[in-house]
Structure formats: C-alpha cells, structure tokens
C-alpha cells in the first residue's frame, strides 16, 4: 500500500512539460500482447521497479488476467472491458495507449476524455478520418489533454517509459542506448524513421532523452512544435533534434517560435521531401500529410526558412549526423552537457521462438506431420497448394489419395475412390449403424453424437467386411493357394469368407453396385489380379449356394488392393490395408448417409424412440 501511495504522489508531481517518468503507468487499449511485452522488456532493461503497463482494456473480450514476462519471471496484468472500469481500479494511471483501429480510435479517445486523470492519449491507428481527428484535437485542447498520433509508433523516454512498439527489438533498444537517458530531445513525424534517428543520436551524442513521433497525418494531435516547447522547458534536455516533412505548415510554427525566442536551445532540423521537385505531377509520399499543395509547403522552402530563423539545418540528410555531432560536441565543450554515463542493461532472456528462428537453440519436435502444412501463404495438401487442388480439379478422390497415401493417384484411381464413397454412402435406415444414428438423433442428441453412435457399429459384422475381404483374399492369393484350396481351407477352419454372400441378392439377381464397380475396374485398372482371383472363388461358392456372391464390401476391398498394389509398392499397399485404410473408406462414405438420417429425423421432428415391450422377450429366469 505504501508503495502505491508514493506512485500516486509522483504522478501528481509531474511537471507540465513531463508526460512520462520512471513511475508512469499506462492502459493499453485493445489486446496487444506483443506491444505490451515489448514495453515490459524495455521496463526491465531500464531497471524500472514497476511495469509501465497497469492494465489492458479489451472492449470485445471478457475481464481476466493476462500473463507476461518481466525479465525472467512471469507477472499478471489485469484486463478490463472499459477504460472507466480500469480507471476505477488503477488510480495512478495517466496515460492511455490506444491500439484501436481507425474505425474506433476517435471513440477510444472520447472514452479517455471522460477520465480526468488521463492526461496523455496515444493513438496508433493509421487512417482516422481528418474531421474526427480535428474534433478530438479541439476537445483535447479544451480539456488540457495531450494527444500523440494518430498514425504513429509513439515515442520513448529513454530509461523511463516506452510507447508500444517504439524502438523495434530489444537488441536495437539497447544498441541505441534507449534504456538510459541522454541529453537529446527528438521529435519527428515519421515513426518508421524515428528508429533510425535514435541510432544516429546514440552514435553522435550521449543519447536520447526523449523522442516522439507525432505521426504522418495532416492533423496530428500534437505538433512538432508542441514537443519542442516541452523539451525547451525541460532542464534535462540540452539540445533539440527534429525531422520535418514536405506538406503542411507546421514547420513554420517552429520558425515563428525560433524568431520569438520561444526556442532557445540548439535545434538541429531537417525537412525531408526535397526530392518532390523531381516529380512532374503531384506526389503523395507515404504519409497522408506529406504532399505539398503550395510553394511554402515544399521541403526546400521550409529548410530555408528554418535556417534563416536560426535552426541548424544541414545541406542534406547526408550531413544531418555531422551537424548533430558538432552541436553536441560544442555543448560538451561549453560544459552545458556532462555526457551521461554508460550503464549496462540487465540481460533479458531470449524468447524461445526468436532463439529458435535465429538458430541459437534446438529441440526435438513432439509431433511430426508429412501430409499437410498450414503455415505458409497457402494451405498445402502434400506438395499441392489449395489453389492447385482446384485448378487441377483433383476432386475428393484426389484429395483423399494425397492425404492418405501421400501421392496424387492417376485420374482412373481417384475416380474409383469417388465411386467407392458414393456407393457406400448409404444403405437405408434399417442397417445397424443407421438405426443407431436415428435412435440417437431421436433422443435429442446433436449431430456429432448421433453420427458417432452410428459409426461405432462399424466393425467385423457391419461394414468391416471391406477390410476382412481384402485381408483374406490377398493372403490366400499371396500364398499361391488355388481358389478351390482357399475355399477348402476356410471351410476347414470353419470361418466364413469375408466379402462373400448376400441376404437377398444372388447370381441370378445381381447387386447393381457390384456390377458397376466390377465393370469400371475391368475397364480402367492396370491390373485386376486379385479381382480375377476373387471371381474364381465366387464361381466355386455360388456353385454351392447361389447367394454366395462376391458382395459390395468384398468387391470394393479386393479392387482396392489391386489399385494400391499397382500404384504403390506391395509393402506400402499391404501396410495401408493393415492400418485400416479400407475401413476408413467405408466410415467416410457411410458418414454421408448417417448424417443424412440424422438431418432427416430432425427435419421430421421425430420424438424419442422407445422400443416396444412386446418386441422384447423378457426371460427373467
């Protein structure tokens, strides 16, 4: 408690020119996990006692606690639904960093205006409508709030407080000495270039004291001049560095301030965009505000005016660094600046992901996948992008062969797979699996439960004959048993031959499904060795009883072995059969039917099914 109280006083004691100090805490608007972590890394490197993020506002989520690293250890940061809720809990926070999108950035600022204690509002979004921003700016002025942005990365007070993603990676922050204060106050429009500027400043002076990127929009919340005037007042800032831009007239406000002696500290300044004269038609550079509508808005005119007013203006960006260096050296000579001491930043452990991508560490993977990859630009099925899947029109059979057998089988084969799925899709409501699905659906269960209750029936007696037939026939064939020997051996073992026999259909009343498949296979397959063998077996069995025909399960299972053996090596083909690929085909096909029955029952609003007592023989003794 005592600690909280001191923080509070410190906040209250902030000077008017001071937006941030080592105790400043902020709210982050919108769930920005990476930006928040980067702020905390900076805090730790700067040796701050408290994290600079007090809470996260997540207007679309629920209130919770979010885990972050603070150096090597983990901390929890609360998440609230509104700024008002957060402000009620954290009485010391006076900064809002809003990552709201261009649609709601203005709204987030309006919300923050309601909290008197919030003094500084940073708007990161790019593309906030100009009129909305002008209204926000007018209101902020009336309420005495400071707005940084929009369309900015933010800014940093070296060794004290960093806004969001400013400064790039932690390595760069430490290389640019942003973890401890120097003597230079910097302000620019561009956020992208601020990083470069911090590098220049760290190499040519004792380092940055504070840097702000006001953002590239036409109507930024605070201007270049606003921040220069703050630095002018702040006794810790000994020299000013500024980077302006073609377009707008803000730089003339600086000219006026120089002339009026409102800025007296040495100011090194350059306005970019001197190249615009090389363009014949008007050019919009990267920033919304970067367009010269009049001669006065050109970079050349502004640089000349600044020079005249006493700013230190290089001849080109090329000698910007030299001018900064000269100015700093002069101030050191004049003893205005005592160069800030170098301090070592505490080491921040490397993030696992970063270390991995840098090749610094390795770790065996817990999982392997060889069939699909969702990490790149496009989803990959095997070696095929999803757009090729459609461009080449490989169909369900093609997708299945790619994902199951890691190989796009030729068209005759993928069409056969399609046929199998179509043929096995349903066999009426009376079969055990469909019945189970129907009963479950009528018990009020959902689609997945009803489907699964049907699928769970699939096994040796229902649908499982595909596998069984494939196995038995290929074993016999591979052992070189003559069809008659095979039939005899099975009889001797007292085992029914899987895939042989039908309840109703017979040699005189053939099953059309079997006929269709047989004909297709005969016509298109490269080899039909196992099918031919099975048909020989069928000749023997039907001679005994005319319904002992090769049934649909049998023909599919057997033909599939022929197919796999002609497209894969025999070992691979046999392994897929052993692993249950054939059962999979039946499960896949029949799922279509089961779901159909489920939807049918739901559509018909069928009530709970209860089996009638009279259909059950109760034999209790």
């Amino acid at each position: 408690m005592a600690k909280k109280a001191t923080t509070k006083t410190k906040t209250a004691n902030k000077k008017s020119y001071e937006l941030f100090n080592r105790d400043t805490q902020a709210f982050i608007y919108n769930m920005q996990v990476n930006a928040t972590q980067r702020m905390l890394d900076f805090d730790y490197a700067s040796g701050r006692e408290t994290p600079s993020v007090a809470a996260i506002i997540n207007p679309t989520g629920s209130e919770s606690l979010q885990k972050f690293f603070y150096g090597p250890k983990e901390i929890l940061i609360p998440v609230y639904k509104s700024i008002e809720r957060a402000a009620g809990k954290h009485k010391n926070v006076d900064v809002l960093i809003s990552f709201a999108s261009f649609r709601s950035a203005a709204k987030s600022a309006e919300e923050a205006f309601e909290i008197p204690r919030i003094r500084t509002i940073v708007l990161i979004a790019e593309g906030v409508p100009e009129r909305q921003m002008r209204l926000i700016n007018a209101k902020a002025k009336k309420l005495g709030k400071v707005i940084i942005g929009p369309a900015t990365v933010g800014g940093v007070k070296a060794g004290a407080f960093k806004i969001g993603n400013t400064g790039g990676t932690i390595e760069n922050i430490i290389e640019s000495k942003l973890h401890r204060p120097g003597s230079v106050g910097f302000v620019s429009k561009s956020g992208g270039l601020s990083n470069e500027a911090y590098n220049i400043i760290s190499r040519n002076t004792d380092g940055l004291y504070e840097g702000i990127a006001i953002g590239g929009d036409r109507y930024p919340g605070s201007t270049l001049l606003d921040h220069l005037l703050r630095y002018e007042e702040d006794p810790n800032v000994k020299m000013l560095v500024c980077l302006g831009e073609v377009g707008g007239e803000d730089e003339y406000a600086i000219v006026d301030a120089l002339n009026a002696k409102k800025i007296t500290k040495p100011l090194v300044m350059w306005v970019t965009g001197t190249c615009s004269k090389a363009f014949k038609t008007e050019v919009q550079f990267g920033h919304a505000g970067a367009k010269a509508d009049a001669e006065a808005e050109t970079a050349d005119a502004k640089n000349a005016a600044l020079k005249k007013a006493g700013a230190i203006v290089p001849n080109s960006f090329d000698d910007y660094a030299e001018k900064i260096n000269e100015t700093f050296t002069t101030l050191v000579k004049k003893k205005v600046i005592t160069p800030a001491p170098e301090t070592e930043a505490p080491k921040i452990p490397l993030d696992f992901n970063k270390a991995l991508s840098a090749g610094v560490i390795r770790k065996p993977a817990s999982f392997i996948s060889t069939i699909a990859d969702d990490r790149g630009e496009e989803l990959m099925y095997g070696k095929m992008t999803i757009s090729d899947v459609f461009k080449k029109d490989i169909g369900v059979g093609g997708v299945l062969s790619t994902l199951w057998f890691r190989k796009l089988l030729p068209a005759y084969a993928t069409k056969f797979i399609d046929m199998v799925i179509m043929v096995t899709a349903d066999h009426g409501p009376a079969v055990s699996g469909a019945h189970n699905t129907i009963v479950a659906a009528r018990a009020g269960k959902d689609l997945i439960s009803s489907l699964v209750s049907g699928l769970l029936c699939i096994g040796p007696r229902f649908g499982g004959a595909l596998d069984g037939a494939a196995q038995q026939f290929s074993d016999a064939y591979d052992q070189g048993l003559a069809p008659q020997e095979f039939v005899n051996s099975m009889k001797k073992k007292g085992v029914n031959i899987q895939g042989i026999g039908h309840r109703i259909k017979s040699i005189h009343n053939p099953d059309m499904r079997v006929t269709i498949i047989k004909n297709y296979v005969k016509k298109n397959f490269k080899t039909t060795a196992l099918l031919d063998y099975a048909l020989e077996v069928e000749k023997i069995t039907t001679s005994k009883k005319d319904n002992l025909i090769l049934n649909v399960d049998g023909v599919i299972g057997i033909c599939f072995v022929d197919l796999l053996r002609s497209e894969l090596t025999k070992e691979e083909a046999d392994e897929y059969i052993r692993m249950g690929a054939l059962n999979g085909l039946f499960v896949l096909g029949r799922s279509i039917g089961f779901m159909g029955h489920y939807l049918d029952q739901k559509r018909l609003k069928q009530g709970l099914y209860r089996h009638p007592w009279d259909d059950i023989a109760y034999l209790m003794e």
């Binding site: 649609r103 002008r134 700016n137 992208g192 990083n195």
Partner: protein, 425 residues
C-alpha cells in the same frame, strides 16, 4: 489514405442527390451531369438522357485539370451533334497542360446555362486544423483571380455550424438584396453537407442564380478517403482518379497489383528509365530521404525511380519487386555504368535477412546482365536479423562478380548515396 480529388461529374451528382437533405428540401439541384469515360457508348446516351438533344450543352474534360477554359478545353453552348463529334475527336488525345502531358479520357456533359456574368458567384470551403473557412465572392467565374486576396472569408471553428443569418451578414454584403436569403441558405446547407460528408475541399466557381434556383457550373472537390467507412454509402460510386498526366507504365501497374495482394507495401514510380541511379529502399520515410539525398547531391536528372517496400513483405513478393526494378535498370546499357542502392533505415520488425533473400534471388537471376551493364550495388540496412542479411549480401558480391558494398547501422543511412555518386559528376 488522405485527401483525394474527385471528378467534377461525381461531385455534382452527389450534390444533386444529397444537397436537398441539408437544406430542408429548399435547394434541389437537377441531376443532369453525364460522365463519359473510355468505355461509354456515346450513341446510347440520347436515349437515356432525353434532354441531350433538346438543350444547349457544355462539354469539358473531367480529369482534375485546372483552368480548362484557359487551355481551350471547353465546348460551350453547343448541341449534341457537335458535342459527340468533339468528344470523339478529343478522346485518347494526348495534350499538354502547363508542364504536364497526359491523355484525355474522361468528360462531363451538362446543360448549358444561359446567364449573365453578374449572376456568377464564387464559393469555396477549405479545412485547416482549427476549423473550416468559407470563401465567397460576388464576382465569380473564370476571371475571379486571386481568391485568397479577394474573397471574403468566414472562419468556422471545428464542431460549429454557421447560421444563414451569420453567412448573410458576414459574406453576402455585395449580393443584391433579393438574392441574399437564397444564397445564404444555399451556403448554410453546403457547409453542413461538406462537414457531414467528410469533404476536405470544395470549390464552386461559378454558381449562378437563376430565379429561385442555384446552379453549380464548375466544381472541384476533395474527399478524405479515410472516412470511407463513415461516408461511403452517401458518396455512392465514385472514383479517385490519378492526377492528370500520371499514366502508369506496365511495370508500375504490375507493382501496384502486387501491392494490392499483400498486407505489406510495395510502391514504384519510374521517373527516368534511362537514369543511372536506381533505388530499392525499405520504408516510406527512408525512401523519401534517399530520393532527397540523390536530389541534394545534384543527381536529380539521373534518378531513375522512386519507390519503397515496407511492412515485412515475404520473400516471394520482395523477389518479384526486386526483379521488376533490376529488369528495368538493365534494359539499356549506359557506358558510364549504373548504380543500385539497396537502402533502408533500421527496421522495427521487418526481418532483414528474409527480405534480402528475395532480393538476392532476383540479383542472381540477372547476374549476367548486371555484369554486362556494369552495375555497382550499395547496401545499407539495420533491424532484426540484419547481420545475417548483410553477410548474405557480402557473400553474393564475390559469387556474382558484381561489386557490392555492404553497410549496417554504424554507417549513416544515406552515406551510400554519396559513396556511390562521389566523383561521378
């Protein structure tokens, strides 16, 4: 992502559709403005717009060209037959206005409004940080001259709305008494229309008063296109044409198309295909500075292109971008050799090694041509993974037999410009 000019026909059609709603129905502007583009079938127009063959007409190019009257790009008081003939003659014609050359491909046709010069008025609304300014002058038309000096101005602080009384009192002093109320109401409505629809600039010069009607004759306007999500419904279907004279080359159009396919940013403007200094710079801000430095060092004429890539484009996009530039720069041999500056500041989060891999792929592909064209390459970059990226570039020099000098954050960002160009002038 900023203030964008719209076509006169779109601006007028929008006013005809909506101004009524902002003036309590008092100012209804007839929607008789026809936009003609390269795809328009002129033969079908008279059927669709019956008034075309009944009334006198005005035809003007509608491509953001200023002072069309002075450039004789106006056909006034004409009939449909003449108008059709004129458009057919002008369509796809190359013309030069001032220093800019471009092709005519958009026109506006409107009824010719017979009027006296004293019926012409000037009104404009402009926006600044603190508010909007209404500019008015009672003598509008092409001879209005320097409106900044001449026009009467009414500053309206942001968030406020002027009343008709205020407008009449402050702006309409020299307007005949019987017209004051009418014009004041018109401007009052026009202001709320301007503010509500996120205009950033609107100039009507002139509008004329014809009895009880206010008719805009000439109009120029800019909208804030970031307000698209607020105002698009009211704007209707409009386009933001490129400034007159900016026709894209095949390569520029290709890069624009690439740009639209990625969340990253890829930009290319070819300034002088025979220039000797080519740039491939990462970052919007940095790219301007490189172009500046080339200009500041006196090589404006030799600057071949302006462009940038940023926002962490993936290797493939970077490769396609680099290939386009390298192809352009090696088409024609220059005996004095060519420079390629692969520059950039210190990236925030773009993976330097990754983007460089794409560039390196393109450089490898053009190995022979780079050598034949005596291309010298200078690299400067910082940011995540920059050391690896720079090492790859260094190794590439030997492999390709092309001189490549490579620098990191320890070297000033634009130093490679002077390194490349020193002693060249």
């Amino acid at each position: 992502m900023a203030q964008k000019a719209i076509r006169e026909a779109d601006g007028k059609a929008m006013m005809a559709r909506l101004l009524m709603d902002y003036t309590d129905g008092k100012h209804k502007i007839q929607n008789r403005f026809i936009s003609v583009g390269p795809q328009t079938d002129l033969k079908k127009l008279p059927n669709k717009y019956k008034w075309l063959q009944k009334e006198k007409l005005v035809v003007k190019p509608d491509q953001l060209i200023k002072r069309r009257g002075k450039s004789k790009l106006l056909l006034l008081n004409t009939d449909w037959k003449e108008a059709e003939k004129w458009i057919n003659e002008q369509m796809n014609k190359q013309i030069t206005v001032g220093t800019v050359t471009g092709v005519l491909d958009h026109f506006i046709i409107a009824p010719f409004v017979e009027h006296d010069e004293k019926d012409e008025y000037y009104v404009a609304i402009t926006s600044e940080r603190e508010g909007d300014t209404i500019l008015f002058h009672h003598e509008g038309g092409i001879n209005v001259g320097d409106v900044d000096a001449k026009a009467i101005k009414l500053f309206v602080p942001i968030g406020e709305v002027p009343t008709a009384q205020e407008i009449e009192k402050k702006l309409l002093g020299k307007v005949p008494k019987e017209r004051k109320a009418l014009i004041a109401e018109f401007i009052e409505g026009l202001f709320t229309y301007y503010a509500d629809l996120n205009y950033t600039y609107l100039e009507i010069n002139p509008f004329v008063v014809d009895g009880k009607a206010v008719i805009p004759l000439d109009l120029a306007a800019k909208l804030d296109d970031t307000a698209d999500f607020v105002s698009a419904n009211k704007w209707g279907s409009i386009d933001f044409p490129a400034p007159f004279g900016r026709t894209m080359t095949k390569e520029e159009a290709y890069i624009e198309e690439l740009d639209s396919k990625t969340g990253a940013s890829l930009k290319l403007t070819v300034l002088n295909p025979e220039g000797r200094v080519w740039t491939m710079v990462a970052g919007g801000g940095a790219s301007v500075i490189y172009a500046d430095t080339i200009t500041d060092l006196g090589f404006m004429e030799e600057m071949a292109n302006y462009g940038e890539y940023s926002g962490d484009p993936n290797e493939e996009f970077t490769y396609l971008y680099a290939r386009t530039i390298i192809d352009l720069m090696t088409r024609k041999k220059n005996p004095k050799g060519t420079f390629l500056l692969i520059g950039g500041g210190i990236a925030n989060f773009t993976d330097v090694a990754n983007t460089f891999r794409g560039i390196i792929r393109a450089l490898r592909e053009y190995k022979k041509k780079l050598r034949e064209n005596k291309v010298k390459i200078y690299v400067r970059r910082g940011g995540p993974n920059y050391k690896e990226g720079l090492n790859q570039m260094r190794a590439l020099g030997g492999e390709l037999g092309v001189p490549i000098e490579v620098y990191g954050p320890e070297t000033h960002m634009t130093k490679i410009v002077s390194m490349a160009l020193k002693g060249d002038k």
